[in-house]
């Protein structure tokens, strides 16, 4: 497996505050990679940087062999990076169908629109039932599904999810993670940042742990991560 995303030594600042320090990370083709970290560890910043919403002051990000750390989000979606931000990942005053349609705004995705639509309807049948409803009238779980589906419509090669389980009931979390694993099995590489450890550890191929902007555990297999004393203590409560 070749690596599709590589993050090398990036420093990222929010105004004057340094959020990420010398962070390294890579995602290989068809891999499901998890980044664990508590609140404020810099998880969201990491994903925002990869998706082009923020730019590193030092270091580089490469995607499919191309340097991307100076590109904008609208260029990156064309290269194949899909990103689902925490909450608010949709257009509240548009219908479910329109939200999905906007996922195919880029020409490349518009060609596969029908096929993609069938794919996300198969993953999340509830979106088909709710297709004419405004996005803001959906339940929290349905909104999260729609946000993921919207990103999938762009035909990403790498899908990034920022705390997809945020604010969802445990049963819904399970359902969502099943769908995420399914997306991964069908060939999309996934980078997921989470606080919800148990379910994500079980589906991830490799795990990183991010603390105060530093990677403190790098790319261990998930079994190894689960046995790591640090992860056990901080995230599994053992």
């Amino acid at each position: 497996m070749s690596e599709i995303l590589s993050v090398k030594n990036i420093d990222v600042f929010y105004e004057d505050l340094q959020v990420l320090r010398r962070v390294n990370l890579e995602v290989k083709d068809k891999e499901l990679v998890l980044v664990l970290g508590s609140n404020g560890a810099g998880k969201s910043t990491l994903l925002k940087t990869i998706s082009g919403l923020l730019h590193p002051t030092t270091g580089q990000v490469h995607f499919l062999g191309k340097r991307i750390d100076r590109l904008s989000p609208c260029e990156l979606v064309r290269l194949g990076i899909g990103y689902v931000p925490t909450e608010k990942g949709l257009f509240p005053l548009m219908s479910v169908t329109e939200n999905l349609e906007m996922g195919t705004y880029i020409a490349k995705a518009r060609k596969n629109k029908e096929e993609r639509l069938r794919f996300v309807h198969r993953l999340f049948p509830v979106l088909k039932q709710r297709r004419n409803q405004l996005a803001c009238t959906l339940s929290g779980g349905e909104q999260q599904m729609l946000a993921v589906a919207r990103a999938l419509m762009t035909s990403p090669k790498l899908l990034m999810l920022d705390e997809p389980s945020f604010g969802l009931a445990p049963k819904l979390v399970l359902e969502l993670f099943k769908a995420i694993k399914q997306i991964n099995l069908e060939g999309t590489a996934i980078l997921i940042v989470e606080q919800n450890v148990r379910q994500t550890l079980s589906i991830a191929d490799r795990t990183y742990v991010l603390e105060n902007g530093n990677i403190i555990l790098e790319g261990a297999s998930s079994e190894a991560a689960a046995k790591n004393p640090l992860v056990k203590k901080a995230y599994l409560g053992m």
Binding site: S51, G52, L53, S72, P73, C74, V77, R78, G82, Y83, P85, K88, G89, L90, F91, P92, L93, M94, E98, E101, M102, G103, Y105, I106, A109, R150, A151, T154
Partner: protein, 286 residues
């Protein structure tokens, strides 16, 4: 008699809607409250007056001036508002107010000083139409028909086309719009140009029922802002509705109480609506 007053009111109101919709869209996409909006109406009307004076036909002059005002809109958005968009939140709103207020003052003083005698008005070559004893003024009919067509076209554009939907995504969630591949800067420019052209058209239509002079820009800006805010400042349909309602209030009160008192009544109506629905007629709470 009441039918005639209502028709005049609706026509005037639709013209206000054309003005207000631009303010709503520009604010919705870029959080800039365009205090120079009325000046675009004036620029367009005065431009048409200049072209007509130079011997161009009325229709050609109007079409040309609409195109030119759109291009002016593009240039102003790209060069004058570009630094404003780099600011965020409250700073952006304040900067937008200062920059567009400055622009409005500059345009106003320039036009008033260089073309003090300019006055644009169009008299339609048609006499009053009488239907069942009701006198229908052709100027009001034309204003209403043109405004309704343009507003319907705009609604169709926003609702059904990919570009229109992209504009709505920028207004609703700019981050996710970018993640879909939409470049907000391009759509801000586009919507500013559309707003400028619609204001320009409102200026031309104003010339059917009144005389547009270089000094009316402030008044038109105030009308545009009021209509947009009463409508719920991010809601296009609310703005259209509030334009119509306020237009009717304006013409009914001017007929019964005269123009001076009618302005007072107009503003009282505005205050009442805002007191009853602070978020605007169709605006959302919170």
């Amino acid at each position: 008699m009441i039918v005639e007053i209502l028709l005049d009111g609706i026509a005037f109101g639709l013209m206000l809607s054309l003005l207000g919709v631009g303010v709503t869209l520009i604010f919705g996409l870029g959080e800039i409250l365009n205090l120079a909006h009325g000046e675009f109406a004036v620029i367009c009307a005065i431009l048409a007056w200049v072209l007509m004076g130079a011997g161009a036909g009325t229709v050609l002059s109007i079409v040309l001036s609409l195109v030119i005002v759109g291009l002016i809109g593009v240039v102003i958005e790209r060069f004058l508002l570009f630094p404003v968009y780099r600011a965020k939140g409250e700073t952006r709103i304040l900067m937008g107010i200062f920059v567009t207020l400055g622009l409005s003052l500059a345009v106003h003083s320039y036009l008033v000083n260089t073309l003090p005698t300019a006055q644009f008005s169009v008299r339609l070559p048609v006499t009053n139409i009488v239907v069942g004893g009701v006198i229908l003024r052709p100027s009001s009919l034309a204003t209403a028909a043109i405004s309704v067509s343009v507003l319907m076209l705009l609604a169709f554009f926003l609702k059904k086309t990919y570009v229109g939907k992209a504009i709505r995504t920028v207004a609703q969630n700019e981050t996710v719009a970018q993640l879909c591949g939409v470049n907000p800067a391009n759509f801000r420019t586009l919507i500013f140009a559309i707003g400028a052209v619609m204001a320009g058209l409102a200026g031309i239509l104003y010339g059917l029922i009144a005389t547009v002079t270089p000094s009316v820009g402030f008044d038109l800006t105030i009308y545009a802002l009021i209509v947009a805010i009463v409508g719920g400042v991010r809601n296009v349909y609310g703005t259209i509705l509030s334009g119509i309602i306020l237009g009717i209030v304006h013409s009914v009160s001017s007929f019964f109480f005269g123009t001076y008192i009618s302005l007072v009544i107009f503003l009282v109506a505005v205050i009442l609506i805002i007191l009853l629905r602070p978020e605007g007629i169709l605006g959302e709470k919170g």
